[in-house]
Amino acid sequence: MLTDVFTGLSWNPVSDVQQMLAYPFMVNALEAGTIVAVMAGVTGWFMVLRRQTFAGHALSVTAFTGASAAALAGAPLALGYFGFCGAGAIAFAGATGPKRSYSSESAAIGSFQSLALGLGFLFVSLYHGVLNGLDSLLFGTFLGITSAQVVVLLAVAAVAIALVGLAARPLLFASVDPDVARARGVPVGLLGFAFLLVLGMSVAETSQITGALLVFALLVTPAATAHRLTARPLLGVVLSVVLALAVTWVGLTLAFFSIYPVGFFVTTISFALYVIARLVR
């Protein structure tokens, strides 16, 4: 059974890793996966803390729309990903305002998200003959990442992590107790908006590896596991990054040696870790 699934595996770890690293596309995929995992681990931890999982998901859908719009217009895909996710973050912050109320916020996000998906589907169907392309936009491909893309990913991740790092203390305060933070002069609304923008960038980046639909596997699940295991902020962020890294590396490796897609391995491993964390704590 296992040998049917992992057809390429010789079961000798050293030679298997050597074989994998002999392919430039695999090296690129691992590099990109590492960058994305670090970034998703950091922003995901704050996203789970702030209970903005749904907003994160809606932004990932916007990434799909952006990519399909870029494909239709003949522009670089990365431009579409980042442009639409940034615009989506601005739209959310504008629609929900500084004082968040869950019910009206979720209706707004839901309407926005399905409109974005609908438009994405429209762009794809106007751009004929890309049904296979649609699959990879939605579910990701790690085979086609170029070295230039890795550099772009690294630059965006560096900026985003630096921003989160600079604002970490006030952001933590504003997320845990917005009312007290506001009374102490912390710009809660501005921080919320800035965080959505960073989340949008992060999602746009992750989408290029995992596809728009599976962003969640790296953003939510490692962070949720970390929140289960520790309440201490710094330790939690580190744990979330470590889990995201482990899941990405193992997922990419398993996918390389098997006939099944990377998204399945990444989501399944991270979900298994989350279940274990729930059972332990």
């Binding site: 789970v48 209970r51 999982t53 749904f54 994160g56 998901h57 629609a95 109320s101 869950y102 019910s103 009206s104 979720s106 209706a107 707004a108 996000i109 839901g110 309407s111 926005f112 998200q113 399905s114 409109l115 998906l117 609908g118 438009l119 589907f121 429209l122 169907s125 106007l126 049904l131 296979n132 649609l134 699959d135 939605l138 579910f139 639909l213 599976l214 969640f216 596997a217 939510v220 699940t221 949720a224 929140h227 006939i259 099944y260 897609p261 998204g263 399945f264 391995f265 990444v266 989501t267 399944t268 991270s270 979900f271 989350y274």
Partner: protein
Amino acid sequence: MFAQEFMRNALIAGSFVGLACGVVGYFVVLRAQVFAGDALSHVAFTGALAAAAFGADVRVGLFAATILGGLVMGALGDRARADDVVIGTLFAWSLGLGVLFLSIFTTRNSAGNGTAGIRVLFGSIFGLSASDVRTSVVLALVAVALLLAVARPLLFATLDAAVAAAQGVPVRALGLLFLALVGLVAAQATQAVGALLLLGLLAAPAGAAHRLTARPYRGLALSTAFAVGSVWLGLGLAYAFPTLPPSTMIVSAAAGVYVLALLASSRPAWPSRILATDR
């Protein structure tokens, strides 16, 4: 337009999908469970592909997966209200499974080349058969009748769970039943507008209704009218302009209604004022 059989089928099935989505969506928005509805729509995708991959009837996979998904999410959350982190993790995994089933399906049927997945994701309302239409009508009527039967206690349990529980309302059981009903409607709507777009019919018309009125029964009626109207408008547009996909047009019409309602009511919506104290 009405001379075409596929168009008649689409209109009948679409109207009943709109009816069910409008009624159930009203409570989904009131209970702030739009994200759960979203997750169920992705579970629908996984269920349908699992059935396709193993050669079973797609509809069986759809309904089994969504109703089970609704029950699991309800069971994991407090007071049968799953919190968004639990929903997010479950849903990421269900998508991963969906991708797996998609790849199994495409390797088994080399002729299918992935279009089955696209059909499930984005719907095929112009390709419904007469028996699909009958199923859709019956299911919509069942879901709406069940929901209206529990509408009063459900409303009570939603607005003030603690007082409702003290008065002997089975809050937890109602929450579970409700999520299972959302699953049923999600599966039914997946056949028409697709797993990815049905959220538009659940959230947008109901969100608009909540913006416009605070009275529950008037809101329910408005939400249903908006949902059915969006389906008709979307189908009409897609018929008039054949390059436009019908599911996109339906969802765009619903989102348009929502934006108009936002503009028409600048004051904060009623559920937000009530539920704000809950958080």
